[in-house]
Amino acid sequence: MKSKLAIAAMLAAGLALPASAQDKIKLVDVIELSGAGATAGTNFKNGADLAVADINAKGGILGKQVEIVHYDSQTNPGNTRAAVQRGIDEGAYAILGPVFSGPIAASMQISQRAETAQIVAGEAAGFTKQGNPYIFRTSLSQAAAMPKIAKYLKDTVKAGSVAVVWVNNDFGKGGRDAILPELEKAGIKVAVDVATEQGQADFAADAIKVKNSNADAVFVYLNEEESARFLRAAKQQGITKPMIGETTLLGAKVLELAGDAANGVRGHVGLSTDAPIPALQEFGKRYREKYGFASDHNGIKGYMAVHMVKWATEKQKKIDRKGLADTLRGATIKASEEPGILMDTVIEQNGDLDRESFLAEVIDGKQVINTTLPRIKP
């Protein structure tokens, strides 16, 4: 068969890379546009697009326009690796994304080898602990957020025992593994430890299990739709104990989907378009206008990630790939210097972030921020 020859020729043609335009700053966003992470990925992509549009409208970075391309990671480590490699080969100035920790773990060596900054949306604790100097977060890690939750449960909710409901993926498992030791330290008993599936539709049995545990409070650590479904099931089963969550549970999407069932939900919020910070609210408004739905925290992360690149590039006053990572490492980005960062952000040496966060409660279907928590290392 001659087809093989033809295929090889086609391959060579198809996989050869287009010459990158030197007059633009190229960002490659490797993100979950299909598969399990599609919801989070779509938000991140939109946020990043919005940021690029904003920056270009104001004349770009150092006078150069920003170009962003989005490559679907398919929520699959192998494909993510291919996409990141492609981005690197195409001369990406920085890699943005992905969100899920598996794809991050599979691709972060690639950007490390190329000495290119990779600004990810993952919250799992592990990947900043591997000594990779090119990986950066856009939000607090679970290791940073969970102590705040434990403290909140102990001091404010005054719970002696907690039911922990988590989704059994890297996000949920990471969160659960991070909070259990914190609860133990705070002297709070885990009444029941409920694992649920990603994409699970029916939470009746889980809600009954939680109800029967008679815990003083329920800590819910699920993805958006699952959070909403759980809250509804909990309401149906007549659970009256306080529902405590971290960021996602109080997110706009959950509130929209859960309706009444979300009222009274409380917890810690890392990023929110409802935070008492005008820039965040303004972002939320413009995002909703452009895409027709409310941004979750991943949308904010996408917006911030692009602005982290902008800030560092303007700071080093040149387009230097390696320098970008060096500049970001250990930096403090103030919203007064770079409004697009939305909140003052401290980047630690390992790529973790430290910044203010919030305690919030859902009242009448709206997220109400009642306390702003200071940075961990003020």
Binding site: T39, E225, L257
Partner: protein, 292 residues
């Protein structure tokens, strides 16, 4: 005991949902001896189409529902049969089964790209309030689904056994060659089955979506459980879907309660394997003779 009852009732409510989705598996199996791997997506899509119609045309909900449902039955009842099943069935059942896998990807990704990657609320036609049964809470929505599952199966049994059209349809399912000789319009009967299948998917979708939300990926879970339910109950019997659905729902609920919750999903699957080993035709199924 009250605890057990609560799990049992929750399981039955969930099982009715699986049953409703599983009926389609048995229908398509009987007429075309194939497995519709897109069955979950068939249940996912009508709700999405309804919401899409509302969004696109700015139509009120009732009109959106009409447009969405009509479009779905047209495309995935009649269209599916004419465009996918007909040209393929002459190649045997294997290509058709695989074609439905491709179709499921198209439906799923189409719903995502054409509508939304995010879950959406779907309005309930039934009040969302709950009532107490034997000390366990159950919502009117779930009760409606249970009632509908029984009603649909009952109606189908009556239709197939008690009406001329239904008997013709059954004759077609059992032996198309003989049916054709008897003057039954076989083609039209097969078409009818697929339209009924699509209509049932609509019923399931409209009832399930207020609880499960409308989302492109919902078909995966619903499809998997409905598939297990159909095998457990018996692929070649419509009432097998009901029994299978309820059994799987209850077992799943009890597994969540009493077995490590990270292996909850394994329990219905193990049940499936046990059924295949011990009673391959399913709990309610007819034993099929080896054919020569």
């Amino acid at each position: 005991m009250a605890e057990f009852t609560a799990y049992l009732i929750a399981g039955i409510a969930t099982g009715a949902i699986y049953a409703l989705a599983a009926i389609g598996f048995t229908l398509v199996w009987q007429t075309s001896q194939t497995i519709n791997f897109a069955q979950g997506e068939f249940v996912m899509l009508p709700a999405v189409l309804v919401l899409l119609a509302v969004k696109l045309f700015g139509a009120p909900l009732w009109l959106g529902a009409l447009i969405g449902i009509f479009a779905f039955i047209l495309i995935f009842g009649a269209g599916f049969k004419l465009v996918v099943v007909d040209p393929m069935i002459r190649h045997g059942v294997l290509p058709l089964a695989i074609a439905t896998m491709a179709l499921s990807i198209i439906m799923k990704e189409g719903a995502k790209d054409g509508f939304s990657a995010e879950a959406q609320n779907f309005p309930s036609f039934v009040p969302t309030s709950t009532i107490e049964v034997f000390g366990a809470a159950i919502s009117l929505q779930h009760l409606t689904i249970i009632a509908c599952a029984f009603a649909v199966i009952g109606a189908l049994q009556w239709f197939v056994g008690g009406t001329r059209l239904g008997r013709q349809m059954q004759a077609t399912a059992q032996n198309p060659t003989v049916a054709r000789i008897l003057g039954i319009p076989v083609e039209r009967m097969v078409l009818l089955t697929f339209v009924i299948n699509a209509a049932l998917a609509v019923v399931a979708s409209v009832l399930i979506s207020p609880i499960y939300l409308a989302k492109f990926s919902n078909g995966e879970v619903i499809g998997l459980f409905a598939f297990i339910a159909a095998i457990v109950g018996g692929f070649n019997q419509v009432r097998g879907a009901l029994v299978g659905g309820l059994v799987v729902g209850v077992i799943d609920s009890l597994a969540a309660a009493y077995i490590s919750s990270s292996y909850r999903l394994a329990v219905p699957l193990v049940l499936l394997v046990v059924i295949i080993l011990l009673k391959p035709e399913g709990l309610m199924g007819r034993k099929e003779e080896r054919r020569v």
